[in-house]
Symmetry: C2
């Protein structure tokens, strides 16, 4: 086996970190707690990650990539532009609910001033630009109101996040088709010209 154990311990540490960071907050979580939760020795964390901040950075970037990728899942299976927009919408909150810890970790870092360096990671900027162009296309096609793209993206993300918070609090609603339909209607009413 080609260092299977190595990959395992790294993953164990990242998973443990996600859980504890969300439960206790970034700075309130000692590295010793992370290694304990992962069931490994305290020192090994610094073998895989140079510093605690490096661990946070790597965790953020990997989760963000996972999230942004999931948003475009199955997008080619849909023909209509509006259908695609709806799929992006539902992909977003579905991933966030199915990966609630990871999503909460993203929110926590995004709401923190202390890690600006993470957010300016090139791969993340690239994904952001890609998504921005996507929205711009909808504006050009007059499927979405002609207003500053940054404003649109910000409010879209805000609405999706509040949807996630609500569905996490009331999980039954996730299978309530009438509710989902109404929520989508509201979302698109917000966007349409």
């Amino acid at each position: 086996m080609i260092s299977q154990l190595k990959i395992d311990k790294r993953e164990l540490l990242l998973e443990a970190a996600t859980k504890l960071f969300v439960e206790r907050g970034l700075h309130a979580t000692p590295t010793s707690a992370i290694s304990k939760e992962a069931g490994v020795s305290a020192g090994i964390l610094f073998h895989y990650f140079k510093t605690k901040d490096d661990l946070i950075d790597e965790l953020y970037v990997s989760i963000k990539k996972e999230y942004t990728s999931s948003i475009l899942n199955d997008i080619d299976r849909i023909k209509s532009d509006l259908g695609k927009l709806r799929l992006i919408w539902s992909n977003s909150w579905n991933w966030a609910i199915d990966n609630n810890l990871k999503f909460k970790f993203l929110l926590q870092v995004d709401n923190t001033n202390c890690s600006e360096r993470v957010k300016s990671h090139p791969e993340i900027i690239a994904k952001f630009e890609k998504f921005k162009n996507f929205i711009q296309e909808y504006v050009d096609k007059e499927l979405v109101k002609n207003i500053d793209t940054y404003f649109l993206m910000g409010s879209m993300f805000a609405l999706i996040t509040s949807m996630v918070t609500y569905l996490t609090l009331f999980p039954k609603k996730r299978n309530d088709q009438a509710f989902i339909e109404q929520a989508w209607e509201q979302f698109y009413n917000y966007l349409k010209p």
Copy 2:
């Protein structure tokens, strides 16, 4: 004078704490940094606040009260229901922009699991209920879509927060009446039945 200095130092500490908590994060800010920023000795902080957590709690509650109060400013000067809703909307983001540090502090605490005890403060629960009834009234009057009030409140607050983030990033837009009008239109399109 009736202990004017006492009040002053308390206020100085709270202001310094707000600034540093937003800049560095709750747990990354030592109490020593707070007292230094406030220009007082390290020990005095624990004369006014039993513990650091107590300081955070008090700060949160006082800011939250200030914010929720500002939301209903001048509400009686407006006659129409829709006008009142619009005033609530604009009051919300105006306060948040004018008191950006305080607003960011609220967001930071709200996005943290470590201080559940703060959010369940009776005065805050009361304000929340009051606002909830307010929304319910609009639903009953059929000015707002008939969908779960918690869902409505969550998304309203999300939209307002994204408005604040945007206007903080692009301050000029705040005086752009056409933009504000469009933003309001979108907001109400989201809510209307």
